[in-house]
């Protein structure tokens, strides 16, 4: 993992802080539980990679702002290359952010996650993935 420390204006980028790979084409959903909690954290996490089974590259992202009262504000998922879609964001039962991704096949799907913790709230937060599962559950798993 490379941690690129920015100055006080550009914040922190973590490049490839998590590497995902699978050989099984199904199930079609991946849930990745992060260590991002309710402590007022603005996050931007991006996936980059190569979905061999779909023959498409991956570039997608999840953004949001966690709030102390359990709210989750200004979330969005954005999908560019089609190899995998950022499908959703939710809180786990113990109030951690979970990223949900979907692909029409995960057959030899490999990607890395990058984080861009550049906003005043959550600035330089060191994001990590604490649990991950490939499942058919399109809702909340954790």
């Amino acid at each position: 993992m490379a941690v690129l420390q920015g100055d006080s204006r550009i914040g922190t980028q973590q490049k490839a802080f998590y590497r995902f790979m699978t050989a099984a084409g199904e199930p079609l959903y991946v849930h990745m539980k992060t260590n991002i909690d309710l402590n007022y954290i603005m996050f931007c996490i991006e996936a980059e990679g190569y979905n061999y089974g779909l023959t498409l590259p991956i570039l997608c992202s999840w953004i949001g702002y966690t709030y102390g009262d359990g709210s989750l504000y200004n979330t969005a998922v954005t999908n560019y290359y089609g190899g995998m879609n950022a499908h959703g964001i939710y809180y786990s039962s113990d109030s951690k952010i979970v990223l949900r991704a979907y692909a029409g096949s995960h057959y030899y799907n490999g990607f890395i996650l990058n984080s861009y913790m550049v906003n005043p709230n959550g600035y330089q937060y060191r994001v990590s993935i604490t649990n991950a599962i490939q499942t058919s559950n399109s809702g909340n798993y954790y």
């Binding site: 995902f20 699978t22 779909l54 089609g82 096949s105 057959y107």
Partner: protein
């Protein structure tokens, strides 16, 4: 290298990164990951279609021309007229 484990019902796969071994549950079955090169796989039909469809702009232009030729209804609609105004503002060179 992620280790992979199947649930007892076989439907879900858990991924365990280095240092997360405490999360491994005794009822999980570890999946052996082969080091052999994966075989060629033909992309699914929806990917092949997606790659060969004309761009969305070209498809909309086809629909506009079908309206213009009155093959489908819509000639004179707001959408038709907005496209027509742009076409008239930038005529195609002869």
């Amino acid at each position: 290298m992620l280790r992979q484990f199947r649930d007892p019902d076989g439907t879900s796969i858990h991924f365990i990164a280095e240092g997360q071994e405490a999360n491994i549950q005794p009822e999980w079955t570890e999946i052996e990951i082969s080091n052999d090169p994966p075989p060629f796989v033909d992309p699914p039909y929806f990917i092949k279609r997606m790659k060969e469809y004309p761009g969305v702009g070209d498809q909309l232009d086809m629909l506009w021309h079908m309206m213009d030729d009155e093959i489908i209804p819509g000639k004179g609609s707001e959408w038709y007229n907005q496209i027509l105004a742009v076409k008239n503002a930038h005529p195609k060179p002869e």
